[in-house]
Amino acid sequence: MGRVTLELVDVCKDYRVRGQRKRALDGVRLTVSPREFLCVVGASGSGKSTLLSLVAGLTTPTSGEITVEGRPITGPGPDRGLVFQTGSLYPWRTVERNVAFGLELLALDTAERRRRVDWYLAETGLAAVRRSLPRQLSGGQQQRVAIARALACEPDVLLLDEPFGALDVQTKEDMQLLIRQIWRDTGTTVLMVTHDVEEAVFLGTRVVVLASDPGRVAAEIRIPLADDRDLTAKRTPVFHELRASVEDLVRASHRREVIR
């Protein structure tokens, strides 16, 4: 057994809704190894986003323990970079100054900071728009800035919360290829939350299915696709089979609202 980047032990999270306690996550156990790309799927209400916000340190678990590289989480920090679905860029900062935000807080000389910002801008294909303001960018470009900005802090684990959920299908596929490329180029451990099963199977080295009400781990599936998979992988029988079995698991663990 090798090192563990991220570990969740019996994590529970309760919310109070109109005076009533509601359990969002119930005894979640999860380990993420270095260089893994773990995708968490589940229907709405499965506590996916709660899980990510706990790991980010933006909320605290009701019980249980979360550790990153063996350190217990006490709050948010640059060792766990976070990318939201939309709208988390600093609108008054240009693309390059958004990417530089985390580095500006550190004792780095200008040349060193510039070198790193340049690399992340090139890696995410943003060099041409480096002096643009966020509002001048497309949705895909904005998400690339958010990813570059989080990566520039060299996090132990990159947390992605439905990062491509607001994008059109074509842009979404471009972004899927890009994030896999970045994952391979940087060797960053990734924990991504999505409701899109196809996306989870295509991106992940492993997929975890969360059941709803309360959120808990229902299944884990290893994805035996090649590390350098491209979009053609989505057409292979192996992919279809994996996708179908994950879909069945999600469906089985979802509280149904309508039947026909």
Binding site: A56, G57, L58, G75, P76, G77, P78, R80, G81, L82, F84, G87, S88, Y90, P91, W92, F101, G102, E104, L105, L106, L133, P134, R135, A146, R149, A150, C153, L159, R255, R256, E257, V258, I259
Partner: protein
């Protein structure tokens, strides 16, 4: 599988008579939130200035109202020119402007940090908002007698009125602006390694700047009102003082001229602040 909609009654929809159709009115100048032509906009704007002015000209020229009550535009212009020529106007404008700069400037210096504290921290809100929410409903002009007793007839009491009249509103409006900073922006800053002070300095404040300028613009208008009120009582110079003097000698033409000057300066302040806002808030456009 459970059926959450157990009471659903399925069935094919029967053939109802067609729904009545409503005619759609065509676009007019009064369609809600729809741009109008440049010509129409200019015509409306010009009309809003020209029509009242024309009424004034006709009313004063017809002699329906005595000139002592309603001086003619020409008489007002002459009175204004006379004040400008004698240097009286420059002194009055200077005195009044200085009072606004001091009183309102002080209010901004106090209210903006106060508003940031109230907007950024729940503790700040709990501590200051009840008392400020109460104080702002006390009319500043009602404090004039009290302030004269406390601070005398000189400058301090006038500056205090300006300060009291604007500081609370500006603090509450600033707090609202700060509360408008998206939660996700604050959260993401912490995950990028920012500490509390850095989040305030590098995220909350820059995001709030355009909104704070808007608040200052609104309250600058209020300050400009309060200064004239303050000068109505025991002054020796200033635009408000000039109005009281003119009233004593029934010089309505002079009162009108001062009112025009007050209006023009107010518009100039507004335009200047709009310009600053457009410049620093380009990212928000």
């Amino acid at each position: 599988m459970r059926a959450a909609l157990a009471d659903r009654v399925p069935g094919v929809r029967t053939a109802w008579p067609p729904l009545p159709r409503r005619t759609r009115p065509s676009r007019t100048v009064l369609t809600i939130r729809t741009p109008i032509s440049r010509r129409a906009a200019t015509a409306l704007a010009a009309g809003s200035l020209v029509v009242p002015f024309a009424c004034w000209v006709v009313l004063s020229a017809s002699g329906a109202v005595p000139a002592t009550f309603l001086p003619s535009p020409g008489a007002v212009l002459a009175a204004g020119w006379e004040m400008a020529r004698s240097g009286e106007l420059a002194v009055d404008v200077g005195t009044t402007t200085l009072r606004v700069l001091e009183g309102f400037g002080l209010a901004v210096l106090v209210s903006v940090p106060l508003g940031i504290v109230m907007g950024a921290f729940h503790a700040g809100r709990a501590l200051f908002e009840p008392v400020i929410g109460l104080l702002r409903y006390l009319p500043a002009s009602a404090f004039i007698p009290l302030l004269i007793i406390w601070l005398g007839l000189g400058e301090p009491s006038k500056i205090a009125i300006l300060f009291l009249g604007t500081v609370f509103f500006n603090a509450l409006m600033t707090a609202d602006v700060v509360r408008g900073v998206p939660r996700s922006l604050v959260d993401v800053s912490y995950t990028l390694g920012a500490r509390r002070g850095e989040v305030l300095r590098k995220v909350v404040v820059p995001h709030s700047v355009p909104g704070v300028i808007d608040a200052v613009r609104v309250n600058a208008a209020a300050a400009w009102n309060f200064v004239v009120v303050a000068e109505l009582v025991n002054s020796t110079a200033g635009l408000g003082y000039r109005i009281v003097r003119a009233q004593r000698f029934l010089q309505t033409d002079k009162i009108f001229a001062v009112l025009v000057v007050i209006g023009v300066i107010g518009v100039m302040i507004d335009v200047a602040l709009r310009l600053v806002r457009a410049l620093v808030g380009r990212w928000a456009a």
